[in-house]
């Protein structure tokens, strides 16, 4: 709230982060999926979140988007706490996400998937539709236009005849692209990408890596990305955060983190089969 803003302004030279979690904890029964985590994303930044399986990366995203309950700590976005908000309110504040296990509206067309995601940025209600008002028609046209513009961002992948195909007919890689398109359609300030290149071949993965950079440069989104592919992480990240057992064990640019002994141990430990 205002005193947090004041606090941020009070520290000279400190840039206020776009998103900040303070001592964030999430418990599942006895399991501490996140433990006193402090994490931040600044305006125009691409942050990678890495860590072995079960480290709590997805849980972090879930906590930010209000899909799991936070047991302790605070999440602050643009100086305001997100705690207690419904997921749709978080989205309209300006945080969009993709899902690790792709979750599209499978039977809606590609275009409709993107159109429906503009819901919180549009206003026309039932009466406008029933009376077929000028405002309604204008907004429909705008929604469609913006959707097409977003789809064009992915080159030829999602346009042409595919626009009207139901989403479930898409290939795996295209489904992941459409998930990103859908997140873009909510007109966020921050996009959370959960393993965007998982299951893609090297060519597709390289292409998407490029897209992530362009998302920031051309659209101005701040991005947090969970990724296992170290090549991608090196390519895109301004900063890397490493989680293990719900705790942040390292943070910094790629080279620092990659050589951090704790990180190496976390990964090797997992490789040795003890979790």
């Amino acid at each position: 709230m205002t005193d947090t803003q004041a606090a941020a302004a009070a520290v000279p030279g400190a840039v206020q982060p776009l998103l900040e979690t303070r001592g964030l904890s999430v418990d599942f029964g006895g399991l501490h999926a996140l433990d006193q985590l402090s994490f931040e994303v600044r305006e125009g930044e691409i942050v990678s979140v890495i860590g072995p399986n079960g480290a709590g990366k997805t849980t972090l995203f879930n906590a930010i988007t209000a899909t799991v309950e936070v047991s302790d700590g605070d999440i602050v976005f643009e100086g305001q706490s997100l705690l207690g908000l419904d997921p749709n309110r978080v989205t309209s504040r300006g945080i969009a996400r993709t899902f690790q296990n792709v979750r599209l509206f499978a039977n809606m067309s590609v275009l409709e998937n993107v159109m429906v995601s503009q819901h919180c940025r549009t206003k026309q209600h039932a009466f406008g539709a029933l009376l077929y008002t000028r405002a309604f028609r204008r907004e429909e046209a705008e929604i469609r236009q913006r959707a097409e513009e977003i789809l064009r961002f992915f080159g030829t992948r999602l346009i042409g005849y595919r626009v009207d195909q139901p989403a479930f007919t898409l290939s795996y890689a295209n489904r992941r692209r459409l998930e990103i398109a859908r997140a873009m359609a909510t007109q966020p300030k921050l996009i959370l990408l959960d393993e965007p290149v998982a299951g893609m071949n090297p060519v597709e993965s390289a292409e998407l890596t490029g897209l992530i950079g362009r998302l920031r440069d051309e659209w101005g989104f701040a991005i947090a990305v969970i990724e296992h592919d170290m090549g991608v992480v090196r390519e895109v990240s301004d900063r890397v955060v490493v989680l293990d057992h719900g705790v942040k064990i390292a943070e910094g640019d790629y080279a620092d983190v990659a050589n951090d002994p704790q990180v190496i141990e976390a990964y090797l430990g997992k490789g040795a089969g003890e979790r």
Partner: protein, 618 residues
């Protein structure tokens, strides 16, 4: 995308299956006899059930084809035939050859059918030798007489084996016919059955149009199609099917392939034509037909309302009758002079505005607690609310308002701008009023479906969690669906009150909810045309919960048939008679995914050579 349904005959344009060549027919006796025994016994069980439900005796009075076939016998012929046909069905599996149909199918059908008929033979023998009156309340000597065609028991035992076998074999033979001839045969059967079912309607209309001579020739004096006319009808319709089918399909593809403005023009033309028919038709119809039309219209209106809730937003509401009741009762209270507590005696149209507001509020009130639940729980709770509303109207507590079980009577006719008064005494006017409101309901559903709200409904139906994560306020959106459904239902209720002239709690049993749901499912959830067709056919032919349909004889067995139909529908064609494309996909997705996987097409839409890559499939 027509390609979503596996084509039964031949490859379709845009179809996905490259038809494998058929293997040579199997030898006549090479059967999985256990499967035949199983199917035959199921059919036999069904036959016995039908016989003991007393359906044949009751329906025997209704003639289909003058001296040869009554509805009573017809219901006993269907199962052996269906079993015989079904028996020849081959599951198409990768790597397993599909055999060309041959003698094998006929022999299989015959055995299945004979088994089914055997059920009746056994029943006849048992009934004569043991006194089974005690457990089997519907049993009567008439049934035995009917089964034996007036002869001795042994005759019944033999003849049903023969009839069953014959019908079963006919079912098998149907598989042998080429698609064209098969279609012609089916059309012939449907034409005769349709003429018989629609008898009262056709006679009534013909009278209005001065065409009695035609119907006198077609129908026998005491009901049923004359056998000679039935023959003629069959020949004509069969010929038409053979000659006209290609044309019909051509015309249809021509319309569906029209683009943009032309397409809209064609649609508007079709709508105007339908409207014209619906407006002109009742002018020539008598009172009974108009009564039927009015009843059907009331249910179409209800079905359209429920379709918004169930079909569009995917909320399974089992208590929809609540809104029908609220509409009826509030219209009654507002317009009737005899209303117990307050009697503002408003004109009907003015009252309607209040009714809409009340219904909307009740929708909010019921919806608010309900929509936080999901799936089965939600369905159960709505079921409860439907009952609660009825019990409230029935209760002593509120009888000062709503008259308890006495209800509210002497509800005046609905005045429309002082032009006409719409009351049950003139069903034609009721029908026109209902028609106007149906048009309104269609417009509302159509507009909303293609709006921001409609898309949000779809998203909620698809995946509520994700919809919420994409910024949709799922609570609001679902509440709105409830409210829109409530308002549309209340229209029907308000017309119902004015039509019947009285409202009682017994008009709003759970049964009404179930029947509306069945017609929506039968027609095809989420598809306006399907829902209209479904309710028109079912309510028109079988009748509503209390309203008679064209087959008046069925009224006693209506529920049985609704239930059977629902089960069959869910098993065989969950997407409904005229499915919404989207719903079909939803329901068949898994199957299709498997097919695609078998064909090795998954994850390959970038190559542009898969079926999804052909632009014609759009």
């Amino acid at each position: 995308m027509t390609a979503t349904l596996p084509p039964t005959t031949g490859p379709q344009p845009g179809g996905t299956q490259p038809e494998a060549p058929l293997a040579a027919p199997r030898p006549a006796l090479a059967h999985d006899w256990r499967r035949i025994a199983r199917m035959g016994s199921i059919a036999a069980f069904g036959q016995v059930f039908i016989a003991l439900s007393n359906m044949p005796v009751r329906l025997d009075e209704r003639l289909i084809v003058k001296p040869v076939l009554s509805l009573g016998y017809l219901v006993l012929l269907i199962l052996p035939f269906a079993a015989g046909y079904r028996q020849g069905h081959q599951i198409k599996r990768e790597g397993v050859p599909t055999y060309a149909p041959g003698l094998n199918e006929v022999v299989g059908g015959l055995s299945c059918g004979a088994l089914a008929g055997g059920g009746l033979s056994l029943l006849a023998v048992l009934l004569t030798h043991f006194d089974l009156r005690e457990p089997l309340v519907n049993w009567s000597p008439i049934l035995l007489d009917l089964l034996a065609f007036g002869n001795a028991t042994w005759f019944a035992a033999v003849i049903w084996l023969v009839i069953g076998g014959g019908m079963g074999a006919a079912g098998g033979v149907l598989r042998l016919l080429g698609p064209r001839i098969r279609r012609a045969v089916v059309t012939m059967a449907l034409a005769v059955a349709g003429a018989a079912v629609l008898e009262s309607l056709v006679v009534d209309l013909a009278e209005g149009l001065g065409l009695e001579t035609l119907t006198d020739r077609l129908y026998a004096r005491r009901g049923g199609v004359n056998w000679s006319s039935a023959l003629g009808l069959a020949v004509v319709s069969g010929l038409l099917a053979v000659v006209g089918r290609g044309r019909f399909r051509q015309a249809r593809t021509r319309v569906t392939e029209l683009e943009g403005a032309k397409r809209t023009q064609a649609n508007v033309g079709l709508i105007l034509l339908t409207a014209a028919v619906l407006i002109v038709l009742p002018l020539f119809a008598g009172k009974l037909t108009n009564e039927l039309l009015a009843n059907v219209g009331l249910f179409v209106l209800l079905a359209l309302g429920l379709n918004v809730v169930v079909g569009l937003a995917g909320i399974l509401d089992l208590g929809y009758v609540a809104f029908f009741a609220v509409g009826s009762y509030s219209a009654a209270v507002l317009t009737a002079a005899t209303s117990p507590k307050i009697a503002p005696e408003m004109p009907w149209l003015a009252a309607l505005i209040v009714v809409v507001i009340i219904a909307g509020l009740v929708g909010l009130f019921i919806g608010a607690p309900v929509i936080r639940m999901r799936g089965d729980y939600l369905a159960i709770v709505t079921l409860g609310f439907g009952e609660i509303i009825r019990l409230l109207f029935l209760s002593d507590w509120l009888s000062g308002w709503f008259g308890g079980s006495q209800g509210i009577t002497n509800i005046p006719a609905a005045g429309i701008f002082g032009l006409t008064d719409v009351a049950g005494t003139d069903p034609r006017r009721v029908f026109y009023l209902v028609l106007a409101f149906c048009a309104l309901a269609i417009y509302v559903s159509w507009r909303l479906e293609h709006s921001r709200l409609g898309r949000a409904w779809m998203a909620v139906r698809e995946d509520e969690t994700v919809a919420e994560a994409m910024g949709i306020n799922t609570v609001n959106v679902k509440l709105l669906a409830f409210v829109v459904g409530a308002v549309l239902g209340s229209f029907s209720g308000a017309i119902f009150a004015a039509k019947v002239g009285s409202v009682f709690p017994t008009s709003f049993l759970i049964l009404v909810s179930i029947v509306i749901l069945v017609v929506v499912i039968f027609g095809g959830m989420g598809n306006i045309i399907g829902v209209i067709a479904g309710s028109a056919v079912l309510i028109g032919v079988l009748g509503g919960p209390k309203q008679p349909g064209l087959l008046v004889e069925f009224s006693e067995f209506k529920l049985l048939i609704y239930g059977a139909l629902l089960i069959w529908m869910m098993l065989a064609r969950p997407e409904g008679l005229i499915p919404s494309v989207r719903r079909t996909r939803e329901l068949r997705q898994q199957e299709m995914a498997q097919d695609a996987w078998l064909r090795g097409e998954v994850d390959d839409d970038d190559g542009g050579n898969g079926p999804a890559g052909s632009p014609s499939a759009v």
